[in-house]
Amino acid sequence: MTGTCFHCGLPLPEPGRWRAPVLGVPRNFCCAGCQAVASTIAAAGHARYYETRERPGAKPESLPDALAYDDPLAQRQFTDSNGPNERSATLILDRIRCAACLWLNEQTLRHVPGVLRADLNYTTQRARVAWDPVRCRLSDIVAATRAIGYDAYPYDPQRQGAFDRGARRKALWGLFVAGFGAMQVMMYAFPAYVDEGTGTLSREAEALMRWASLLLTAPVIVFSCGPFFSGAWRELRRLRPGMDTPIALGIGAGFAASAWATVTGTGAVYFDSIAMLAFLLLGARYLELAARQRAARSLDRLSRWSASTAFRLEDGKYVQAQAHELVKGDLVMVPAGDRIPADGVVERGSSSVDESLLTGEPLPLAKSPGSSICAGTLNLEQPLTMRVERAGGETRAAAIARLVERGAASRPRLVAAADRLAQVFTWIVLVVAALAGLHAGNGWVTIAVLVATCPCALALAAPIALTQVSGDLLARGVALTRASALETLASATDVVLDKTGTLTNGRFRIARVELSGRADSAECRALASGLEAGSRHPLARAFEEGKSVPVESIRNVPGRGLEGKVDGRTLRIGTENFCRELAAGPLPPPDSALTPVYLADELGWLAVFHLEDTLRAGADEAVAALQAAGLRVHLLSGDHPAAVSALAVRLGIAIWHGGASPQDKFGYAAQLQREGRVVAMVGDGLNDAPVLARANVSFAMGGGADTAQRHADYVLLGNSLDEVPSTFHQARRAMQIVRQNFGWALAYNAIVLPLAATGWIGPLEAAIGMAASSFIVVLNALRAGASAQEPEPWKASTSSSLSRSPSYS
């Protein structure tokens, strides 16, 4: 074997890495791209090309890109490492047109050796892929999609922008040609309709009109109907007809028959119906495209910071660097008006920072030395110098973006069901159309059935509405991480609220210390501080200040407390029960309104710290709004029952449980589910992770523990409880719209199928009916996103983006 690529003739960088049999002989290739092209050619039975060609094949244009994806430094930007044997990334898929393409790509990706998971989403045209870096490379995965005629590339905001613009221009061009053509062709058709057998229109004039119509419908077919034909071709090749097949057949056959009638001067022409059908369908699809891009854009904003540059201090000078090249400990200067390139702490300077991107909070926040700042937020006033703590894919913005992408990449059950239904329906349509045509002995009946009953409305009914809502939620600071969560949320009957960190701010301070007299206040505080030093529990933060005693072998018992040793003496800090198990003798009773934290050793209790927490702004209103929405509200907390009861009374929550361990919370949610309730859980902490996963649908506070966020369906990025009832409201509204759409689509198809099959509906009526049905469904779905712009009764008016514009300029 020679040292050159079998496909393109270039030298082999890694001989033996890319191999494929062509014409019965294993061949070497220089890269995944050449290999993919050759394999595809061979698989399609066109390998003879290699025998007859005179020059080596062209190296595929996108090749360097695919290899560049394997670069570890570049991968830091778009991949997520979940342990040594798993990496995941979001890929943008090009040339996806329908659910069937999605299926093909999904199957192909899942069969790439080393690929662990692949989930595709039509709405965002993205694939979430997880693979084993030992067994395959990202470029192999990309090659797999290229081999079947699609393309995939890692998600890159700039490239996505260009891609979106191209798609929009193409769609707009097709729409314009179809619209303008349809308008003009209808003018030519008009005389024939008016004449209708009276004979005032001369045969020559009618022929002229028909020729003019043909001339103007041809561009509509060529420029506008391409998407239908290529979609149908792809569907037919795999015998999985979708919504493009009947449309393409109807349009193609209708145009051919009309053209034949024009040339021969006999029979009917339906140029006007064809052009109008194309126009209206493309109109509906353009709206769908625009909605999809709008929703994707709120997500893109989260990732845009990664493309930014940073000024890093190197040898006393600030040197420009890429944001993803930063590492922990770097000192970075952020000019006013720039996005902050990494998560970190302000070292010098004070400014205000717009965090609306991450939290939906419209007002800028003041930052001074010591404040933490997040990547992707906007520095508004003064230059800041910051110390980098997390960069690249580890930042909060990247973590949120990945959560939201996961949501966008998962397919709602409802959409999957609708796709299956649409597919079955398409087969029915094709069979009925053929039979009706044969029975009537008239090809126009077949065309009318194909066009009138295409299940486009069925396929469009749910995805647009759901996309609208998730995009809209993100703009308000609610990240949707699982697509099916909207369905579940709309049917929720019970809301279980956590207390600490959810209804309250979780910022505790010591209000009062009760002492046993065995140790003084300062010593007790120092012991408590030492025990709580490594804990991330919200209560631990009350002990952060002041001196602390070093404590050995600290053990964390989630939901109960901490245990440790000082000079051989075992100490416990935590709940009353936890300390009673260790301490001899009785413990003092808790104070009703405050949260008690007990400190004890084997001999007895040492101190009780009574901690005080503040109610989160908007908690009253949120609870009231949830109750007004007909939901049963529960308060469930690991806190002392007395403190929980006081809060429950204050907020008007009738069902409350205190002193609940993570297991109790889990059991509580499970018990409610056994009673047939659909449980929504709102929580924040590490302790809540199991119950968040157990509940039918869950919300996590954006400021809470990462584990909680990973298990939650919704993350409240702005830490605002107001968004809980408004998300409920919107989910219900969206599901109502989806139901309306399904109802409409099914009713329309059920009525129109027999009418068209028996010849009651001609091609013109069929075109109007079908296109109108699609339009109604799309327009109805677009309402799902619009609802949030109306002021909600429980929401104070937030300042609009315009009020902030002076600070940008």
Partner: protein
């Protein structure tokens, strides 16, 4: 009626001309951002 033989081919030509104008406008970026022009009037400076 004879005027039709002039006017109809003329109308076809005009449609193609308008199509070409639209193509130029589209690829010149006229329709890339339809929301911005609406909000531009509200900003005070620039």
């Amino acid at each position: 009626m004879e005027s039709l033989y002039l006017l109809i081919p003329l109308s076809v030509a005009v449609v193609f001309l308008i199509g070409w104008v639209f193509w130029c406008a589209l690829h010149g970026g006229q329709f890339d951002d339809l929301d911005r022009a609406g909000t531009d009037v509200l900003s005070e400076d620039e």
